[in-house]
């Protein structure tokens, strides 16, 4: 297990290094000089040159890359070109919205998907199962940003239960949570549909296994067999998908945060792109990739702990 973990950690480090290089080089290609952009069209060439050197933009490519990388390793995400403040500060503010939103959506997705998937699998081919499967098809096909607009139309404009957008801050936790309800529902529903389908098919697979038949033959009731044997084994593939969904939720949040005007990491990336604040884009994208890679790593490790066969395959 230790050699497996070390091996996975090595590939995690390599992935992150390559990802940082890819992000850095991609954003180097970006047309437009950030210094020129910040100073406007009427700036003199001297002023632009002065700002370029102040921002460290005139250093060679590799120097800038390694400076950025070293900074990242020390937790220094650089300084925003437009806000003129350390990006780590901006990120900490935004994380207070993005992480609760992603967690909220993930919990909601599991709360919907697990019971629904279990009911569908245990009543295979019944009208309930057919109905659930049809509902999940609908959930998967809904564009989440459109679903978000419908939620606003019904629950914010129509019923006035929630606000249509914005975030009041965590000083008032109840209001803060309320403002995250609609975005979380919009993010969670399509994910819950996928998860329910995975839960159903994973459970159907395990319910057909010999050990489940043995458990039934031993005299356990259907319910006991389900909870003690089938469900535990079915959860392995389901949790992998939950791990993957974290990445979808982060990316989906970029759009949803824009629909609801939530001050999260997604909006920060967007503002960085439109304002040519490359430092913000680079560092926040790297942070998102870091989160995805680490979650994938943790899922892999958890998976290997539960299923020893995987360790052998990988090593």
């Amino acid at each position: 297990m230790i050699s497996y973990t070390v091996g996975r950690l090595m590939s995690l480090a390599i992935s992150l290094l390559l990802a940082s290089l890819a992000i850095f080089l991609l954003l180097e290609v970006l047309p437009g000089d950030p210094a020129q952009f910040m100073l406007g069209l009427n700036a003199t060439p001297e002023a632009v040159a002065k700002l370029r050197s102040a921002l460290g933009l005139d250093a060679p490519l590799w120097t800038r890359y390694f400076d950025w990388l070293l900074g990242l390793l020390q937790g220094d995400l650089g300084t925003s070109y437009t806000y003129k403040v350390p990006i780590s500060g901006l990120v900490i503010d935004r994380i207070g919205v993005s992480i609760p939103l992603a967690v909220f959506a993930l919990l909601l997705s599991m709360l919907i998907a697990f019971p629904v998937g279990i009911i569908a699998a245990t009543r295979r081919n019944s009208p309930t199962d057919v109905g659930i499967m049809a509902a999940t098809q609908i959930g998967v096909a809904l564009p989440n940003f459109w679903f978000a607009m419908l939620l606003v139309l019904v629950f914010a404009i129509g019923l006035r239960w929630f606000s249509a957008g914005g975030f009041p801050g965590w000083q008032d936790p109840v209001q803060a949570l309320r403002s995250l309800v609609l975005p979380a529902v919009a993010l969670a529903l399509p994910q819950a549909s996928i998860l329910a389908r995975v839960m159903r098919s994973a459970l159907l697979d395990t319910l057909g296994e010999d050990y489940v038949r043995t458990a039934r033959a031993k005299g356990l009731s259907r319910r006991q067999t389900l909870w003690r044997h089938a469900l535990q084994n079915a959860l392995i593939p389901v949790l992998t998908i939950v791990g993957l969904q974290f990445s979808f939720l982060l990316a989906g949040a970029i759009i949803i945060e824009n629909v609801f005007y939530l001050p999260g990491l997604g909006r920060l990336v967007f503002q960085g792109i439109t304002g040519r604040d490359l430092m913000v884009v680079k560092s926040v994208v790297m942070l998102l990739v870091f989160a995805v890679v680490v979650v994938t790593f943790l899922v892999d490790i958890a998976y290997a702990m539960v299923d020893p066969r995987l360790r052998r395959v990988a090593s």
Binding site: S11, I14, S15, L16, L18, A19, A22, I23, L26, L27, V29, L30, P31, R124, N125, Q137, I138, V140, A141, L142, P143, F145, W146, M149, L150, V152, L153, I157, S247, F248, L250, A251, G252, I254, I255, N258, V259, V269, F270, I273, V281, V285, L288, V289, V292, V293, T296
Partner: protein, 282 residues
Amino acid sequence: MSVSVRFRQAGSWLRSPNVAIGGAITVAFVAIALVSLVWTPYAAEAQNIPARLRPPDAVHWLGTDGLGRDILSMLMVGARTSIAVAFVAVSIAALIGVPIGLWAASRQGTLLDEVLMRANDLVFAFPALLIAILITAVFGPGAINAIIAVGIYTVPVFARLTRAGAIALWPREFILAARVSGKGAVRISLEHILPNILNTLVVQATIQFALGILAEAALAYVGLGVQPPMPSWGKMLADSQMLVSVAPHAALAPGITIFLMVLGVNLLGDGLRDALDPRTGS
């Protein structure tokens, strides 16, 4: 496989309700997109401010938007954009990803295989939509860059699937027989491996096509897709957002259209998978 067997097989697929319904919806959208090349009720870009935000009626079947443009005409032209972007992106991704997967599988365990697969993992480390947003942000919004954006994260999907399928086939006896008869890795991959994994690849292509439609709509929604005056479904949703309380029809029509298109393609993919692989059928 003889022609008559193929026809009979196609006949049995059509009896699957998923394939029939999904196929009909997909074909209908493609037909609408094609019709829009020669005819739309109104010119899709024609603004008519006095007739703005009209609800659906006999003159404008789906009403008009905030600039008085005919929503039905815009949706018809938008179908073209949506289908073209998703189709070209998935096709290019398959044309790049499948050979990579075949190549990696034929050199399984070598450095080349390792490098190709690690490169795939690298793309997977980025959330799909984040790549798309970055690409369109760097190279500018527009149809071609939307295709590249959607295509880039689809390549590793095909590469992985192809490699996994091919690796399972390489130790089989009929491949061994082909090797003994002196065929090289390229010929074996093309003549024996590819035809045997084609079914899986077609099903995956369908799923990726549906995801491509959603991604194109999302990009257009945030302003990084095709640019005005070219209509697109995602852009129509973005334009209608501010007016959603006064003119809900302008937000409903494009949303329902995207939803139906994705639903149709997904049903088709699910139905084909069940028809092609009896084990997953219910």
